[in-house]
Amino acid sequence: MQQSPIVEIDRISFGYDAARPVLREVSVSIPRGSVVGIMGQSGCGKTTLLRIIAAAYLPSAGTATVLGRATSGLERDDLYAMRRKMGMLFQFGALFTDLSVYENVAFPLREHARLPEDMLRDLVMMKLQAVGLRGAADLMPTELSGGMARRVALARSIALDPQLILYDEPFTGLDPISFGVIVRLIRSLNDSLGATSVIVTHDVQEALGVVDYVYFMAAGRVIAQGRPDEVRKSSEPFVDQFVNGRPDGPVPFHYPAPDYGADLELAAA
């Protein structure tokens, strides 16, 4: 029998205010053990969708089921119990600047597990070894490059061996070497931990090399989806526009706005 998906988003809608919906009737299903990409241009709602999966926001319509529980109506303790099974890598790492690399990785362990100090040290060093930064344990976050900070944040997000790892724009601002390291780590950590990963990104070519399945979003909707090889061959106009970086197409160049002539009061002149 096939296992149920770890994340099941069923026709959800969401908006920060009622006048401007960010997500409209979005459905996404993420099978256990997979690496799934959510791609789209800036402002298409993909980061909002990630935060819905993380239960940071609740959908205004539809249901989001994550790790077997609907996120709506969760009590604080249940929400935190669910988040202990998740890890999230923020766009710029979000390391605690007053703590060393070691203490950053130790932070979730200290907060959630009462471990003897030597056992905690072993765990932290194992996580740092996994991202190749065991030698940087005593550095402060301000002493790290962007790529190293991202790797430390990755070590911190896997400290509790999560079942679900969420990546918010993990490749932004990285040099090609750091980029390659992060891509490799996402795949290897996912497989070695037996976890499931969701990557939100607009670095389409590179991300297609690491994901098992991809959803394309535009204007708050999922408009295409498929395996990477299917997507590369797709003749779907949006996918073609996005993958080849064309400025205009199904995704218009202009943000929705009132009539241009009326805005400049040309009609009155």
Binding site: R83, F90, A94, E111, A153
Partner: protein, 271 residues
């Protein structure tokens, strides 16, 4: 009356009403925040090490400004007080004037204002920047309540530091008064200290001063942590929040001081 005037008047009234209701709404929000913070203070008290770190940050690092200011305020009080008292031949009461002014008023109020500028603004900026750099969100994603882990230790650290700082301010002020009054001007040391000892009452003066400093400590630290947590997570937002902390805290201290003084020192003493 013509219609555009009515419309303009109405829109001004609406703006005034909206400012008023949003201020009330914000006060309610801040009160709920304080309630939540107090209820979730278990971590800050259980892992007292976290609160001790904040006492160092808010209290110990404020010592220099508090001690130096206290010394100068005491010295100025002695100079000004002597000038007035000697006209009435009461220059030996200088110790009483310096001690009562400091313990009842200047200690809690000036220490509170300095605390708001030095520690309050730093608390707001730190929490605001943690929010702007997603450290607060990261903590929430790690199933760690940032109010319990970040805000509560800072709140209790500030609340515990403020009365101690006010007491040190007053003590330094009395010492400054002694330096100028006795050592520089030549007021009799015995009269200076004995009159002070006889006139300053533990309950009426010192306890009331301590109560004031506790109230100011709660007000300033509450405003500081709330403004930081509520800051718009941008450079401009944090800058505005820091300014608001200093302005609101200073006004709150002065307003609360008036209310507390009215309650403490007029009822029993009035005629």
């Amino acid at each position: 009356m013509n219609l555009p005037m009515v419309a303009a008047l109405r829109s001004r009234l609406e703006a005034l009403g909206s400012t008023f209701t949003s201020a009330i709404w914000r006060l309610g929000f801040a009160s709920r925040f304080l309630g939540y913070l107090v209820i979730h203070s278990g971590t800050a008290l259980r892992r007292f090490r976290l609160t001790v770190a904040e006492i160092y940050f808010a209290g110990v690092l404020s010592l220099i400004i508090i001690l130096v200011s206290g010394l100068f305020v005491g010295m100025v009080l002695a100079l000004q007080g002597y000038d007035t008292l000697q006209r009435f031949g009461a220059s030996e009461s200088l110790g009483v004037l310096v001690a009562l002014s400091l313990v009842r008023e200047l200690g809690p109020v000036v220490a509170g204002l300095l605390f708001a500028s030095r520690a309050g603004s730093a608390i707001t900026a730190e929490i605001g920047l943690m929010k702007a750099t997603e450290q607060i969100s990261a903590m929430e994603m790690m199933a760690v309540d940032p109010i319990a882990r970040v805000v509560a230790p800072r709140f209790w650290g500030g609340v515990l530091s403020m009365p101690l700082l006010a007491a040190l301010f007053s003590a330094m002020g009395v010492f400054g008064g002694y330096l100028v009054g006795v050592q520089l001007i030549g007021v009799d040391a015995g009269a200076f200290w004995s009159q002070m000892q006889a006139a300053v009452d533990v309950r009426q003066d010192i306890l009331n001063g301590v109560i004031k400093s506790v109230v100011f400590g709660i007000a300033v630290t509450w405003i500081s942590v709330f403004e930081g947590y509520d800051a718009v997570p941008t450079a401009e937002g944090v800058s505005r929040a820091t300014t608001r902390t200093v302005v609101t805290s200073s006004l709150a201290i002065l307003a609360l001081d008036f209310v507390l003084t009215a309650l403490m020192f007029t009822g029993g003493n009035a005629r």
